[in-house]
Amino acid sequence: MDKELLLSAIVFGFSISAILLLVSFGISIGFGLMRIINMEQMIYYTFGAYITYTTITVFGSFWLGLACGVVVSGILGFIVERVLLKRVYGQELMFTMVVTFSVFLIGIGVIQYVWGLAPKPVSSPTEIMIPIFGVSMPLYRVLVIGIAALVYILLQLLLNKTIIGKALRAGIEDAEKVQGLGINIYKIITFTFVVASGLAGLGGALNAPLIMIGPYMGFDMLLFAFVTVILGGLGSIKGTLVSALILGQVISVGGTIWSPLSYLAPFLVMFFVILIKPTGLYGVAGKAFGFEE
């Protein structure tokens, strides 16, 4: 494989990592904080992409569409959390899974009803190519990587420097004790959930120009996001970052070598990791998941 191809595959891989990082945050935190499996996160991803598409066709501005996508996803997340998910906290995991999966299906149904079944193209906001190490790359992909990096830094600041973030991290460790300290954990959960669904919407909006958007786009992303979370270790933001970086490269470089690998390789990696290290790369040992003890 020649050097230019490999280099562009690596940059493409980083842009895929960026999207994966944005969409898996909700699933990782959702399990860590609320002990539910968030199957419906990807509906915000899909809505983010579709809202962006509609805003572009109406107003013609991609960046406005991006903002609208994030806001609408956040609002949707708020509604779903307040109306439905608060009823499933504390239930067994299977129950939360089937409920959230149903929400996901309902969302797909709504999208089919509103936008129809046909895939829609979203045009990229810039067609400029910029040279990186002598290979010309689309500027948009570099922008995606930059935005995801910025979001990650902001998240780290939020988690480490603010009271809400500290309460959230403590909630992941032990939600009951946090409540015992007089902090309303349910407000924090709602806040986190809105942030997470907004980020999933951002991921969808950013990904929209890179793929064709369709009602079922969430399904594949759901699987990839879960692979990311399983690989990184639940509840660990750092683990999610590392596994997103690995998977992006696996998808992109693997796909360059043999095209079916771009779809199959993440699953192979996941099966491999589940067999070798059930806690994922950065999972806490006490919270081993995957295997029964």
């Binding site: 299906l105 089919q112 079916p260």
Partner: protein, 316 residues
Amino acid sequence: MKGFGGPLLAVLILIIARIAFPAKMNFITEVSIFSIYVIGCNLLYGHLGMVSFGQPFYLSVGAYSTAIYLAYFGTSPMMSLLIGIGAGVVVGLILGPFFVRLRGDYFALVNLAICAIGLFIVEKLLLPITRGDDGLWYRSRMADTLFLDIRKPDNFFLFVMLALLVVLILFKYMDQSVLGASFRAVKGNERKMKFLGYSTFTLKLTGFTFASILSSFSGSLFAINFGFVNPNLGTPGRAADVLVATLIGGAGTVYGPIFGSFAFLGIRDIVSKYILRWELFVGILTILVLFKFQKGIWGNIEVLLYEKFGKKAKPS
């Protein structure tokens, strides 16, 4: 033989329904085949407490092995059914040891992943063999069978009834045996079960393989019924169908799956006249059933029967 009457009665009711409504024969055939599929899911969810979002994969394993045999190798439908069941056994025994060791949520997700991989393989990787989205057609290649020419819809209906009867009797036998009790005990408290000295791994593997066999068997029946297969059968999007049918009928009951598939397919047929895709409807139905109707149809009937005839309630 004890416990023979119930399944026989259930199948007789279906046959009477077919005689009473001759125009609905295809629907009843479909319901019966779907019931076998739902029984597989019921075994996993209702008895063992394992949720799988990948049941369509096992369905399409059976359907595609039957279809590929009929389209390329042989002509005998009976042989193709055996091959479908065999494929279910093989897949269950190969994947089972890896999957059943996983905790419940990962079991469900890994099944969803295998379902996506299966769809990808059928749609893209094996394109020359499965002809991708066009589907594989082989109705004209099916040969006559020994006693009953199952190419005719009427005879196939009888054949499906026979299959359902056998499955129901075996399922009821399993439900009342020690195996069924052990399954329910695993659902109730797996740790205690281990403490008592049972190998929950073996139990789960057995249940998983049974479910896989039932799913692939019903996939084979679907394949013979329709005379063609396409990847639509195994899309992850339809993973909830069978779960909903299980829940509506009543998880963990013997006759629940028949009621569940009857209700689910019936409502779906009515709804699909008005909306093209039924994801929206399936989702809303699942949430309603989960929150308001947890016992399911047969679960509620069972409670009534016990009250009326004062039978001892089944331990659950």
